[in-house]
């Protein structure tokens, strides 16, 4: 699923979403009806949502919140947060992997499976091949901002409809989890 959503490809989103549901939920008519209802509801919701204020005169005290967006435009695939550059080593750092497993089991496994199957959140299979390591770590450590501002994260929320919780994972711990994800994706 994840690999077919391209960054900033808003126009194809509905189509992708539909094809996703179709592939995931098998083709019963009931399910299709439900999906259509959801899609229509979502579209209505979007179109009814109030426009964000653009008029600076009306809200003169609002700081121009550009920096985050700008950084996203600069490198849209790295996400938003404190993690700017991650250096990956080969072979895998085994100590990180084993710490990463423990963190996964405590804080992630309730919603993320290791295969491609989505339960509450997306399955992790191939995530390190489709996301930059920085994006993954920012999503884990800065999830509230990511869900507010990062287009990719927002697409996932629209898909899963459950906000990914802030699991109070430190950047160091997120790096360990990333190493485990790499192992899960077959890296040695």
């Amino acid at each position: 699923m994840i690999n077919i959503i391209k960054p900033n490809d808003q126009s194809h989103f509905d189509l992708i979403l539909t094809s996703y549901f179709v592939s995931l939920m098998k083709n019963s008519k009931q399910t299709m009806k439900k999906i259509l209802t959801i899609l229509i509801a979502m579209t209505l919701f979007w179109s009814c949502a109030p426009d964000k204020p653009t008029n600076q005169e009306e809200f003169p005290d609002q700081p121009a919140a550009k920096s985050a967006v700008e950084s996203q435009i600069m490198d849209p695939t790295k996400g938003i947060g404190a993690v700017k550059n991650v250096t990956l080593k080969t072979p895998l750092e085994q100590e990180r992997v084993s710490r990463g497993i423990a963190i996964y089991e405590m804080k992630c496994s309730a919603c993320h499976r290791l295969d491609e199957k989505r339960v509450v959140g997306p399955g992790w299979k191939d995530i390190t091949k489709t996301r930059k390591p920085e994006w993954i770590m920012n999503m884990v450590t800065n999830v509230d901002v990511m869900l507010e501002q990062d287009a990719e994260a927002q697409k996932l929320l629209e898909l899963c409809l459950t906000r990914m919780p802030n699991q109070n994972v430190s950047i160091g711990d997120a790096r360990d989890v990333l190493e485990y994800m790499r192992q899960n994706d077959g890296e040695k």
Binding site: E105, M106, K107, S109, A110, C111, V119, V120, L161, T162, R163, P165, N166, Q167, N168, V169
Partner: protein
């Protein structure tokens, strides 16, 4: 010319409007209407300036309001069980309410004491007293949870409590009712004078953990010990207690305990008591009392029964305690921020005496006594007196202070707050309260550095102030602005239970340290499942332990089989969330206790005894996500003696 006339006319109009405005009557009601709303309006999303911790009286709990808005944020379960959170019901918290009598799920919470360092608020803990089955509680101001409850032995009702010393060295607990103490307690009630004794406990507080232990008890004459305040600054090392029923009546106290023109304020030199104890004085006396401590690591209560206390009989050490005559049936006994002045509020007196700590010390040095009570020196009234506030109002109860040398006294009978100057004793202002004020609170009022700004009245009667709700009406608080010369009524707000004493502290002292989650890594609960991988169901005889996890939006395991009628099922629910404000609840049909609310990273346990065979649903009670309604599961109950295999799962769709 015309323009000039016009201009003059316009000027006259403006002037007359101005004059008219300034000539309007300046009654207090008019003044209130003008800007009261603006003074209490806290815009949506904005924070209040103060936390107001208000005792709940017979509700047994303490409530947390914001000031100046009067908005209720939270009720902290303390001495009463609380089925909505599971406090007092869950396996982890039920022992918090354990006493030497067994499980006591209710009490009468009268007074608060915010911890202090050097006589000023430090934002660490809030102490509270249980008036009925004598206990003192400590609430952690990071988690806003009751963390410790200590029972007080040799007490007939813990009213003059939990007042604290300047650096929170001690919390005191004085008995309201004197009772027979010693080996034989089965004595005629009419032998009061001979057999009944008072008892004042000094509870030592560990400065790091807050852990409470009874350091010593003073055995005192058989009076009723009502209220108390610590000395501070120059009077640090002393404690002052109001006593009534110095007549030592045991029946119809309304009349028989109101005979003497003067009762006593008891001045206790606790540093002197410490000296005696350091010398090995005092007697270890058998006593049974419970000490309950909740751990944030194990999420469990440890309850122990203690078996002795150290007692100092003040008859043997007459330089620990001195009596000061005080008219008439004194209630409040309040010490001003300087520590020099002690205000006695005689409920039946027509004036209020203010005693001087310096004069008390001089009188003691000069043995300026009018006599003694059973060997305890009674200081001459005039020798201890700074002066009297004349005609303050009717039925003075309690006094709080601002930082500008003013005192505010609640008048129960005349339903008013009276402002007066502590040094000059001159009455400066009075405002009505609606109705029958009991306690009152100035933020930081009992400390060396009051924050001032407001006084809050806690009223006993509301009558017509709110929409009627049948025979039982809300009790209430009223907020007054005291920043000017005249007190100004700003706001009424209803309270839980019956509000007695309350305190307020600047929000800025607490907000930064507020607990947001319990870290899963630090969860040492023996039945915690720190991750779905660790969920399981174990049978141990007829006990079934379910190690369950909760996260938006499913419980694991959510299908359980192999449980039988006659089993005791323990649902140990660990909330795997690590985000602020995401509790999960757990409830099951037919539970005879309560539900539980589980905070992020926490483990709590609900015990359940299935009564009949069938399949019983359970679910999350706290709306947690869009799929909250889906957060549920089933447990299959088989008849007693059946051999349905023990099974559990989540997400398995095939058998």
């Amino acid at each position: 010319m015309k323009t000039i006339i016009n201009s003059i006319g316009a000027l006259a109009l403006v002037a007359s409007a101005f004059l008219m405005n300034s000539c309007q009557p300046k009654g207090p009601q008019e003044a209130v209407v003008g800007n009261a709303a603006a003074k209490v309006y806290v815009a949506p999303g904005q924070y209040d300036e103060f936390y107001n911790f208000v005792s709940g009286g017979f509700s047994g709990q303490v409530s947390v309001y914001g000031l100046p808005s009067g908005r209720l944020f939270r009720v902290i379960p303390t001495f009463s069980a609380d089925p909505q959170t599971g406090y007092g019901y869950s396996e982890e918290t039920k022992d918090m309410l354990k006493t030497s009598h067994g499980y006591v799920p209710w009490d009468d919470f009268h007074h608060t004491a915010l911890s202090t360092t050097n006589g000023e608020h430090d934002g660490r803990w809030l102490f509270g007293n249980a008036n009925n089955t004598p206990r003192v509680a400590r609430i952690n101001l990071k988690s806003f949870r009751t963390e410790e409850i200590l029972e007080i032995p040799n007490s007939g009702g813990n009213h003059s409590s939990p007042f604290i010393t300047e650096n929170t060295e001690y919390v005191v607990a004085g008995t309201r009712f004197s009772v027979p103490m010693g080996a034989n307690k089965d004595v005629p009630i009419s032998s009061y004078k001979e057999n009944f004794k008072g008892s004042i406990s000094f509870i030592k507080v560990d400065q790091t953990t807050g852990d409470m232990s009874i350091a010593f008890q003073l055995r005192t004459p058989g009076f009723n010990y009502d209220l108390s305040r610590t000395g501070k600054g120059p009077s640090h090392g002393w404690f002052f207690f109001s006593c009534y029923n110095t007549e030592q009546a045991h029946t119809l106290l309304e009349v028989n305990a109101s005979q003497n023109d003067k009762d006593f304020i008891m001045a206790v030199n606790w540093k002197k008591a410490e000296e005696y104890i350091a010398k090995g004085e005092g007697e270890k006396v058998k006593a049974r009392y419970a000490h309950n401590v909740y751990s944030e690591k194990t999420h469990m209560t440890t309850s122990t029964i203690k078996d002795e206390v150290l007692v100092l009989d003040i008859m043997k050490y007459p330089d620990i305690v001195y009596f000061i005559p005080c008219p008439k049936s004194p209630h409040g006994c309040d010490v001003d921020p300087s520590g020099e002045y002690i205000v006695g509020s005689g409920k039946l007196a027509a004036m209020m005496p203010v005693f001087s700590f310096t004069k008390i010390q001089t009188a003691i040095a000069n043995k300026d006594y009018e006599g003694d009570f059973q060997g305890i020196p009674v200081i001459k009234y005039e020798s201890a007196l700074h002066g009297e506030v004349q005609k303050p109002g009717l039925g003075p109860l309690h006094t709080e202070f601002d930082g500008n040398g003013n005192a505010y006294t609640s008048m129960f009978v005349s339903s008013e707050i009276v402002k007066w100057n502590v040094k000059t004793l001159e009455v400066l202002d009075r405002v009505p309260t609606y109705y029958s004020i009991g306690h009152l609170c100035v933020p930081g009022g009992p400390t060396k550095k009051p924050h001032g700004k407001y006084v809050i009245a806690y009223n006993k009667i509301t009558k017509d102030r709110y929409l009627p709700t049948g025979p039982e009406l809300t009790q209430s608080a009223q907020l007054y602005d005291i920043s000017g010369d005249k007190m100004q009524l700003l706001l009424d707000f209803p309270t839980i239970g019956e509000p007695h004493y309350a305190e307020a502290i600047p929000a800025s002292m607490l907000t930064a340290g507020s607990t947001k989650i319990y870290k899963l890594e630090e969860n040492e609960h023996p039945y915690a499942a720190k991750g779905e991988k660790f969920t399981k169901v174990e049978r141990n005889g007829n006990q079934v332990h379910v190690y369950m996890t909760a996260i938006r939006s499913h419980l694991t395991p959510d299908n359980i089989e192999g449980v039988r009628v006659g089993d005791e099922v323990y649902f140990h629910v660990t909330n795997l969330e690590q985000d602020w404000d995401v509790p999960h609840g757990f409830a099951i049909r037919g539970a005879l206790n309560a539900e539980i609310l589980v905070m992020p990273g926490e483990t709590q346990t609900l015990k359940w005894k299935p009564q009949e065979a069938g399949v019983v649903p359970f679910y999350c009670t706290d709306f947690c996500s869009a799929l909250h309604q889906e957060m549920s599961g089933y447990i299959r109950i088989s008849p007693a003696g059946s051999n349905t295999p023990l099974k559990f799962s989540t997400g398995d769709t095939e058998d």
